[in-house]
């Protein structure tokens, strides 16, 4: 069984290369479970919500450039993708698996591992180093790099970097700020949400699958009530629509254990049309 720390050890034991020469090893730090707070304080909660197991951290320094390699062992492939979805900024690059390169940070997921390579020196000058380190790590990390199937249920064309994969209310803290996450997400639910270019406001489409039909209907009713929408009970399902407090139009529907929700639409017709696009 590969763990984050064994992966780093494998990397460091590998024959010396341009970026992993023996003398550059430095000290490997490992933080397990709740000890992640010692490494990143408040940022830890999001990782723990995605089933964080342990992180191995290794600082790399070469002439003029410094970077930190962080290998996170998460709850599984879906959870690794989930945390990646929160930090997936910048431009796509290929390091053997699809990765994202933003200013000063390269990130990707593979198997149950989420990897960040962060520049500790001038982020522009460190670009090549980040990619090279990313390639080395990706070659060592086992598993595939494949998003959960739920991602394919949302319409295409979302705003770059806006898609999130959510697995419980704690993973939605920076998605909904008025308590919606606690109403509609359970520990067994799997959700995907993304923003789309709209008029005055961006349109947000969300799809949540529940382990049973009743949970979806319950979430639909609770959300409809919170948003003060007109709710209609269908046979074995629920739907609601209307104008939300902030003046945008919303539509939601629960059926067969799935809740679909669109908000931010300029009018009711548009909200319904967007809802139909969510599979």
């Amino acid at each position: 069984m590969r763990t984050a720390i064994t992966l780093v050890s494998v990397l460091l034991m590998a024959p010396a290369s341009d970026y992993f020469p023996d003398e550059s090893a430095g000290k490997i730090e490992v933080f397990k479970g709740q000890k992640l707070f010692d490494y990143m304080n408040g940022g830890a909660e999001l990782y723990l919500a995605y089933g964080f197991v342990e992180i191995a951290v290794w600082n790399y320094a070469t002439a003029g450039n410094q970077a930190t390699v962080e290998i996170y062992e998460m709850g599984g492939l879906a959870e690794a993708y989930g945390i990646f979805s929160h930090t997936s900024r910048g431009d796509p690059v290929d390091v053997g698996v699809p990765a994202m390169l933003a200013r000063g940070m390269l990130s990707f997921y593979k198997g149950k591992f989420y990897v960040r390579v962060v520049a500790k020196s001038d982020p522009v000058k460190a670009r090549d180093l980040l990619i090279a380190l990313g390639k080395q790590v990706a070659a060592t990390v086992p598993g595939e790099s494949k998003p959960p199937k739920e991602v394919g249920f949302l319409p295409e064309g979302s705003i770059k970097g806006s898609l999130r994969y959510l697995v419980n209310p704690e993973t939605a803290r920076t998605i909904w700020f008025d308590g919606e996450g606690k109403l509609i997400l359970t520990k067994q639910a799997k959700a995907v949400t993304a923003f789309y270019p709209g008029g005055d406001a961006d349109i947000q489409a969300t799809r949540i699958s529940y382990p049973d039909k009743a949970a979806a209907v319950k979430a639909c009713r609770a959300l409809g009530k919170k948003l003060a929408l007109k709710t209609a009970e269908a046979r074995g399902g629920c739907s609601a629509s209307g104008k939300a407090e902030d003046g945008v139009f919303t539509a939601l529907a629960a059926k067969d254990g799935v809740l679909r929700w669109v908000t931010g639409a300029p009018d009711q017709k548009s909200a319904s049309a967007w809802l139909a696009k969510v599979k």
Partner: protein
């Protein structure tokens, strides 16, 4: 509790002083009250940080309204992470240098720059650029606490979930406490500024995340740690991936200052879109709770807010 005179007393004195000045002149007392929130922004701000800091403090009475001869002054920046200044995860070294110098110019006997970082203090000290910025400034001390002995068990009488915690002794013994956070997104709290930043003055932060409701615990802590003045680094806002980053940086070229930490934080939340969209300050739970516990207001009256350009 924050200093030898508390913030409430300070505000009362300031208001009375302002009123006394204008009553004699026959002006409306309310109109003459000092602002509680000032914002300076524009391309000139990053070009001359020292001038910008002075400008933002002027409507509040300048540094002299806060620091008197012989005062021991605490500057509480965000030095939580060992990242270089270009990442904007930590407070601008240039702002800290300016404020430290202003305090000295007002006669401060000592200026302490303190924060309990998340990561190894020596690693943070090495890269955040503050040590270099204040090097050679007499009576200015930048240190990141390394010993548990530097903290003292402190009761939190108004705390709803936090009843006691260990607070840095120096933070409790200074005459003037100036919070100098940087505006950032925060994965757990939504936003981090002055209120959340007070967690950098305590020993046990983990229990805030694991034992308590984080938002309520932040507010409880702010019932005993009340800065007299907040000066917010809003030059570039880390709009995603906070608090550690690196995240998306949105340039705002802004510095905010005020005597109401809730108001300064609330205005900073709305400086730039966070997580790709506009977040209202009332949506940040700890700010809403802070207002409910009368620690400040999210939206001060318009006549107590000053907006400047540079």
């Amino acid at each position: 509790m924050a200093g030898k005179y508390d913030r409430r007393e300070f505000l009362k004195k300031s208001a009375l002083a302002s009123a006394a000045l204008v009553v004699g002149g026959g002006l409306d007392v309310r109109a003459a009250q000092k602002p509680v929130l000032v914002k300076v922004s524009g391309p000139g701000v990053p070009r001359d940080i020292a001038k910008a800091v002075k400008k933002v403090l002027e409507p509040l009475g300048g540094m002299r309204a806060f620091v008197k001869k012989g005062h021991k002054v605490l500057l509480k920046p965000n030095v939580g992470f060992p990242t270089p200044p270009e990442h904007h995860a930590t407070t601008s070294p240039a702002m800290l240098k300016t404020v430290a110098q202003m305090a000295l110019d007002c006669g401060a006997s000592k200026v302490l720059i303190l924060d309990n970082p998340t990561r190894r203090p020596e690693a943070c000290m090495k890269v955040v650029g503050i040590k270099e910025a204040v090097a050679g400034m007499k009576n200015v001390h930048f240190f990141l606490p390394t010993s548990d002995k530097m903290y003292v068990q402190t009761k939190v009488p108004r705390g709803k979930v936090l009843k006691r915690t260990e607070i840095l002794k120096d933070a409790l013994s200074v005459d003037v406490h100036i919070a100098m956070p940087i505006a950032k997104s925060h994965n757990a709290a939504g936003f981090t500024g002055a209120l959340k930043g007070m967690m950098g003055l305590i020993l046990d932060r983990e229990s805030f995340h694991s034992r308590f409701d984080l938002n309520q615990a932040i507010v409880d802590l702010n019932t005993v740690l009340k800065p007299h003045l907040v000066i917010m680094d809003g030059l570039k806002v880390m709009a995603t991936d906070g608090p550690a980053g690196p995240g998306e940086l949105i340039t705002r070229n802004a510095i905010l200052a005020g005597t109401d930490a809730v108001a300064v934080d609330a205005a900073s939340v709305e400086l730039a879109p966070l997580y790709g969209r506009k977040i209202k300050s009332r949506q940040i739970k700890h700010l809403k709770l802070a207002e409910e516990m009368s620690l400040g207001v999210l939206k001060p009256p318009a006549d107590r807010v000053v907006t400047l350009e540079m």
